[in-house]
């Protein structure tokens, strides 16, 4: 574990230059989202008898927490990976030292995980302040969110190290990340969608994360279904990591 931590330290060093901006973003963004969606939109949704059975803010906030993980993971493992291969060539710098391709993968993934963890912590504190976290189980939404991040960061990094063209990233965000954000049960129950789409939603790692986070903050999590959610997210993270090991080696050691 020593070698990946050496690579990890590089990201920590680089981040020291920009951390102020990103801390502000990680506090201001959730506050804006929660105010607009929970309080603004929620005031309409909650009118009369709420079809969700709970205030809209309580419904939407934990789902957004999982979505933050997806967005950070996608942002940190798309262009930055390509840059480390081609432009800043930092992966090549690392590979000229005792570090191996897999140490570079794990170091970068650990870094993304800590970015997700710190943002998720801020987010959880903010939504707790909005009174949304109804159960002490809500604290478990934190590791779950980190797992959601890994379920995206590992496969995206595996893809990014291979792609020849930036257009792939534009397509990834437009046709995968954005639709997933809208249709994975963050804003409305997937049960409202046609059957075929619903099945697709259940297969996304994001839906599994959203569903689990919400059950945790509301205190409605059942053990077996929650374990299934966790297992499915682990599957994405694990498969992504295995692919990343292979593709990093293929791209960097040739």
């Amino acid at each position: 574990m020593d070698y990946p931590l050496r690579a990890y330290e590089y990201y920590l060093t680089s981040y020291r230059r920009v951390w102020r901006g990103s801390v502000v973003t990680s506090i201001v963004n959730p506050v804006l989202y929660l105010t607009a969606l929970g309080v603004g939109l929620g005031s309409i949704v909650n009118r009369g008898s709420s079809p969700l059975g709970i205030p809209y803010l309580d419904y939407v906030a934990p789902g957004l927490m999982a979505a933050v993980a997806m967005q950070i993971a996608a942002a940190e493992c798309s262009w930055p990976v390509m840059a480390a291969v081609r432009w800043t060539r930092q992966y090549h710098a690392m590979l000229a030292t005792p570090l191996r391709a897999r140490d570079i993968v794990v170091g970068h993934q650990l870094w993304v995980a800590s970015r997700v963890a710190s943002s998720a912590t801020v987010y959880l504190i903010v939504i707790a302040a909005f009174g949304v976290v109804r159960s002490p189980l809500g604290i478990l939404a934190l590791p779950v969110t980190v797992l959601v991040g890994a379920a995206f960061s590992a496969p995206i990094a595996a893809l990014a190290v291979r792609v020849r063209n930036e257009a792939t990233f534009v397509a990834l965000f437009r046709f995968v990340i954005m639709p997933m954000f809208l249709f994975s049960g963050i804003f409305f129950p997937v049960a409202r969608m046609p059957h075929a789409l619903r099945v697709v939603a259940y297969l996304t790692p994001l839906w599994n994360g959203v569903y689990l986070c919400r059950n945790l903050t509301l205190g409605t999590a059942g053990l077996w279904l929650s374990l299934a959610n966790v297992g499915y997210l682990l599957l994405w993270a694990g498969a992504g990591l295995a692919l990343a090991f292979r593709f990093y080696r293929w791209r960097l050691v040739r």
């Binding site: 050496r6 680089s14 030292t97 570090l99």
Partner: protein
Amino acid sequence: MSAAGPLIHARGLVKTFGDLTAVDAIDFDVRRGEAFGFLGPNGAGKSSTMRMIGCVSPPTGGELGIFGLDPVRDGPRIRARLGVVPQEDTLDNELTVRENILIYGRYFGLPRREARARAERLLEFVQLAERANDRVDALSGGMKRRLTIARSLVNDPELLLLDEPTTGLDPQARHAVWDRLFRLKQQGVTLVLTTHYMDEAEQLCDRLVIMDRGRIAEEGSPLELIRRLSTREVVELRFEGATPAVDAARLNGLVARTEVLPDRVLLYTDDGDALVPVAHAQLHPQSVLVRRSTLEDVFLRLTGRSLID
């Protein structure tokens, strides 16, 4: 392998990329303490060879040993003892000069305090101490090269790999780099470098191989190669108007070989002073220049004058 064995040992070394054979069964040994050069035109296979030695490119065939270790199995152990100056800089432009060395030292597992001490020493060595806190993107090309060299020394390597260390630098910057490399050589660091500059090879290399299309065309010290493959001196003639045909037989047997270029005629000879009056009398050139034969003459004779990109 014992400490007395060669630092790098290659036999029948091959590297292919699909249908392309970049390195075509080459043999060479690099001894401890020497400066060894790979010379050749672009595409000759120099960089592919360097990447194999750097353990970031597994050989397709043949034998390769570095410090007596196997580059495929023992990559991390070998790289811990190597310094690498790549052809394209891999500095982080956003970080400071000092941070670039520190973080690199950490990759090698140096304790922070030790990395810091070495960074100060190395920045002195490459004359960048006063720029330690500047961001790298503010540096000139020559300074970046020197920083890359300083960084490559952070693990106190036994063997330094330099892939075209002075390509793209202005003359002052090139001399500054050569000066540092020369000092390293004096300190006993083994240097392996690629270059397509003949003067660089003559300045730095104890021994070199000339590569062409993936193969080793010649091997020896710069002086040996010049003696063996060229003459001691070259007489360059320039003419007003068209260059006349030159018949070497009529130049009193003084000329071993002639070469007619668009703007001048080269006469390869072992006695330039004796040849000059004869050439004047026979050919009536506008100007005559006698010079030492260089590695460039050897190189061009072996690899030809046609442009290879």
